[in-house]
């Protein structure tokens, strides 16, 4: 079964994006439909991309606002509720038209949050009226809805998930909640959100930031340069890739030595190759590839460790160390360490962004739950391709961002590569990888729900989660191989080989990478 894909845009974001950037986001998201959070966004969308061939949904507006509108995207039902009266009518719909076997998504702009630090409370706005609208005479307060529903609101940010007195609520809008913290830097704020809605209620979210769309996705092209290029007619990466270097070098704000690099990067972007910039080599011997799943960014447990060993006998072997019972948090760690000690003690451990996350987390958890392995673990060699390529500047990775899945996909890694190898796990896995849209946050959330209340209804589909982890581990190995294979001298442009680029030209890790 196919998930339904939506791309969500709002007015602020649209006003900051060029038409080419918007098109780029839509190409990447490949949505079944586009959600505009307010009428001005819809207008702007239509005028910017006049040949748009996907439906545009605008909650809260339209001609026939009293009735809910049912859509099917992929194999998933999405019902647009433009108003409270439409919501009331939903109760009637539930009897006949909606499939109670799959998750139904109700989309509106009727719910949002106001965070009020001076009062120390968060106000869930619109909830009362919403529930009242869903009630019918026999079934007060939304019990009229049959089957399982997720309530999507354009008033909440994509990635938000909450249980509002029994209603499952998720957000769709690009950006952050008003009044809540935005964390460190705010440059390159999110412009377009993309949601993959699964038939079982899982939702994977991607946010496309301004600095990773259109020309800005190319390292070295910031807002200023993008504008300069656009002004003289080079508005897309393709345009730039086909531009004469001399013309680019003549532009204000682009040095003679920089121009060739920019053009080469544009050319390499979709060609999907790694470009080495130095002669630094990768570690030897053949590493172990690792990815971990936890219960969040400040983890209390590592419940899944996925490991790929390509030198196992008789042939490469993927293993999963899984913790089904949350009250035995150290089980997977101990098993992993024991295996490592016996099978691969002298091989480096490779994890993507491992330096910042996987390795420190494993270290802390091992010390806490199986300290007898502490010394062994502390002596392991680890290698992080993200640090090596991006932070240390040894290579330029293709893709809009330097996130693992983006890079792997730009290099040509497909679900098939993940799924076929997943034959180890079970033949349902190929189908499940497609149908269950997952991202790291969603996986963590699923496990947290299980931890909070380990009753049978909450038990996760372990196969699906393991397949997700395996796909990431295989993607990592794929990227690693691509880096290894990248010809150090032939691949580098003359401009790159000659002289070192200054630190400011190096790709710095960006907030949006993770």
């Amino acid at each position: 079964m196919q998930p339904g894909r939506l791309a969500v845009v709002d007015s602020d974001a649209l006003s900051a994006l060029s038409a080419e950037q918007l098109q780029d986001a839509l190409d990447a998201a490949d949505p079944h439909a586009i959600v505009a959070t307010a009428p001005p966004a819809r207008v702007r969308l239509r005028s910017t991309l006049s040949d748009l061939d996907r439906p545009i949904l605008t909650p809260g507006a339209g001609t026939d606002t009293d009735r809910p509108q049912r859509h099917v995207f992929g194999d998933v039902e999405v019902v647009l509720a433009p108003s409270l009266s439409a919501l009331s009518a939903l109760g009637d719909m539930a009897d006949g038209d909606l499939d109670p076997a799959t998750e139904t998504y109700v989309l509106s702009d009727l719910l949002d949050l106001s965070v009020r630090p001076t009062e120390l409370r968060t106000v869930r706005q619109g909830l009362s009226a919403y529930r009242d609208a869903l009630a019918t005479d026999d079934a007060p307060r939304d019990h009229s809805l049959r089957g399982s529903h997720t309530h999507l609101s354009t008033g909440l940010p994509a990635g938000y998930h909450g249980d509002w007195d029994g209603l499952t609520v998720r957000g769709t809008a690009p950006g952050q909640i008003d009044g809540a913290s935005a964390g460190g830097a705010t440059d390159g704020e999110s412009a377009v959100a993309s949601l993959a809605l699964g038939p079982d209620g899982t939702v994977a979210t991607t946010q496309y930031r301004r600095d990773s769309l259109g020309l800005r996705a190319i390292d070295g092209i910031g807002e200023q340069r993008a504008r300069t290029l656009r002004d003289v007619g080079y508005a897309t990466r393709d345009d730039l890739a086909n531009a004469p270097i001399a013309t680019i070098a003549d532009l204000d704000g682009i040095a003679r030595s920089t121009a060739p690099r920019l053009v080469e990067r544009a050319r390499a972007f979709d060609a999907g190759t790694v470009r080495r910039r130095t002669d630094e080599s990768l570690p030897r011997p053949e590493p172990i590839f690792v990815d971990i799943e936890t219960d969040g960014l400040s983890p209390s447990i590592v419940w899944l460790i996925g490991v790929l060993d390509r030198e196992a006998s008789p042939g490469e072997r993927y293993r999963s160390f899984l913790v089904r019972e949350p009250n035995e948090p150290g089980a997977a760690l101990a098993a992993f360490c024991t295996w490592l000690e016996s099978a691969a003690a002298d091989r480096p451990i490779v994890a993507y962004n491992g330096d910042s996350f996987d390795v420190p987390v494993l270290t802390e958890q091992i010390e806490r739950h199986c300290p007898e392995h502490g010394e062994f673990w502390a002596a392991r060699r680890t290698f992080d391709p993200y640090t090596w390529a991006v932070r240390e500047g040894n290579a330029v990775l293709p893709g809009r961002t330097n996130g693992l899945e983006t890079v792997a996909s730009a290099l040509g890694f497909t679900g098939a590569d993940a799924a076929s190898a997943g034959a180890d796990i079970g033949d349902d896995s190929a189908a499940s990888v497609d149908a269950t849209p997952l991202d790291g946050a969603e996986v963590a959330r699923i496990y947290r729900e299980w931890m909070a209340d380990p009753i049978p209804e909450n038990e996760p589909d372990w196969q699906t989660l393991e397949a997700y982890c395996e796909a990431d581990v295989r993607a990592l190995a794929f990227v690693y191989d691509a880096i290894d294979a990248a010809d150090r001298t032939a691949g580098a442009s003359p401009a790159e080989r000659a002289g070192s680029e200054s630190a400011s030209e190096t790709t710095q890790g960006r907030l949006g990478d993770f």
């Binding site: 968060t122 935005a182 460190g184 400040s298």
Partner: protein, 867 residues
Amino acid sequence: MSDDPHSPAERTQRGNDDHGSSDGGWSAHADVLDPDHLRERFPNYDDQIVHTQTQPAESADTVPASEVLPDDLADRLGHDLYTHQAEGIDRLREGENVAVATPTASGKTLIYALYVALCKREDPEARAIVCYPTKALARDQRESLAALYDRLGLDLEVAVYDGDTPNHRRPEIREEADVILTNAAGLNVYLAHHTQWRECFGNCALLAIDEAHAASGIHGMHVAWVLRRLRRILDFYDADPRIVCTSATIGNPAEHARRLTGEPHVVVDEDGSPHGRREIAFWKPPLEEDLGEEYSMDEYLGAVKRAGAATGEIVAHLGLHGVQTLAFSRSRQGTELTAKTVEREAGDHPASGTGGGGVADSAGGGSSGYVSVAPYHAGHGKQTRRDTEQRLQSGDLDSVISTSALELGIDVGSVDATVLAGYPGSRQSFWQRLGRSGRGTDDALSVLVGRADAIDQYVLDHPEFLFEDDVENAGGAGSSEPSSAGAYEDAVIDLGNDAVYARHLLAAASELPIDRDDERWFGAEAVPDGEGTNVEDRLDRGVTMWREAGRLVGDLDRSVRYDGPPRPEADVSMYATDSETFQVRSVDGADDLDVAPIGKDRAYREYHPGAVVLHDGTEYEVVEFEEERPQPWVTLQPIDEEVYTKTHSTKSVSDVEPRASRDLGDDWHLKFGVGTVSIHYAHYERRDVQTGDLIGDVRETGLGPIELRTQLTWVEAPKSLRETALEDVPLGDLLSEPAQYGKGQRQYTFLGGLHGAEHAMIELAPLELRLDSSEIGGLSIDPHPETGVPTWFIHDAVDGGIGYARGIYEHADSLVARTREHVAACGCDGVRGCPSCLMDVQCGNRNEPLHRPATIAILSALESRLD
């Protein structure tokens, strides 16, 4: 054993301090400010000195170092300890936390410096963390501490760890330095990486907060929460360090230290250090023109000779008589202007033939119409400031005019005299500045030059205000300054501001998961004297708020973890209460403005479109005000005209919730609580700096109202007051009502009485509390829609509150008494009051209506019921 226990950290060591001026300080020229001498020698002297106070010399009270330290250290130290230093160390060794509140330059630093040495003896792994208010101070102290440990023969590494510390040095300092000097803004971000600090935190035996009184107001709130987060992490690594808070003299050292750190402290405030004789002169500049009976604030300001100009004349006079002087001015521009005045006046001064005796090392002598002077403020580059500091210290400069930048402990040696252009706003600050003059046991001279406003005039009229309790201490082996509580303003830290709390809670969650045990740091028990603040179930409410906002996951009975975007601590702005701060930019895109981001309330009030602001001596106009972006900003453009802007605002207070109240009888009530203050800075005027004349028409700012949910104190008066307040006011003294008012002269006059009471209390609040008057505001109204009666409010002007309104509620009895007395005693003519009693330069209503007789009647009625 020498009896000269100078703290190396606060005074130039004797060896380096030899200016060669063995003339015993300024007193060799003892007649320099004698009125007879002045009449002869000072241009246009007209009895500006309204009062002189002399404080006798005090000798040192010491304890042999061997009574406190092991013999080998005592020997190498080479001198006795002052009694307060010995007491401080003893109390620490007994396991107490210590709040040292002795005057400036009394050697407070030595207390914790020696305690660290003792800790190291017992545990070679012991570490210490010292938190300073500024990076400059930390660096300055590093030199002194390193020199001390050298002298003591101890191999202790003292290192500064702050934003300027190079990356490659950081791991080494974290892992190996024995004493780490840092600041609260730095700690705020370092705590997120506490695993890297494990060595240091796990062995921390001492946490010292230096110049703790600087942690007050908004900044103080943030420091208090950062310190709680730090202590929570120290506890996680099983460390339990002693705490030392050193501060200048404030009214509430124990309470302040407790609020700042969360732990009780014993107070050490009996000063054992010696002082020379001090003469303090109170100088009242004259009116230059004749003003009529009724005049406006602007006319008045134009007429009074500025305190800065008078200061310049005095410094020139002193310099020509060989007295090295440090003068304090209110603004950076003030320092520049006053420095120019000094040069000019010295050239024109009739003094001549005073002979030699100019400051010894200056080439060419100082008596021939030339006085060397330099301005000093934070806008100067580092190198320039270092130069000035050194030249002052070496005697090369006759005088320096500085902002508060030189008030804190940076070592510049000691000058002969200090001159203050205006009362600095608190007694603590007053004594701190005075303390810069007088070398060791040499005599010192100080002059306070009054500005035109109410608080300065109050101090000039009541000099005893500065010396309260002096009589009680006269016989004691104590300080030449008052030292007991009540004689100094209280430092204010408001732990009740929920918006600030919420941000720090989030940062804490990302450092370590939160559970019930964290009630200790973030629950109701973390707020001492929680009366009037809403701290019930605070931890639960805070966690619930963030969980519902999607930033935290879990529950308190097991564990709550952070689950949001990285680096939540970056949202803590140490100088504002919400993360919606505006950047201040320069129009040509250059980032040379170096102005810290401003809070939204300040942006609306002072940086609205069209506002003229002064920065680093230059006038700028706000040409862009962009609020809709995720990172709002204002853009400034330098202008050439000499104008200033005055903003008019309308204000309302609603959704008032009392939290504490006093029923004073006869339908009078004094209350404290929270409310929504809506302020609309809708219009502004441009005026000429020289003449105060209006230029052009009143303009619109184009901004909507700003709403603050904040803390307030208010007085509800009985309706009968409308009559009784005007009982003794003859018809001819009633205010004439403006055309659109419509409720009659009597009611308008009554409103003038309420308004005056509100102003006067706000203007004199600095007598009781350390506060920044731009951070409080008021509103008077009859009737208020919610109270239904004549009411005046005094509110904190920052979102969530800052503790000033609370402080006013707590000090209401003495504040109202002082205010009534001052207004009643004011010598102004007419009924509208004057800037010395009722007029407030910050009034958004153009100081109308104001009626002094009605105000006096109202305040008297209130005062009699407060006792």
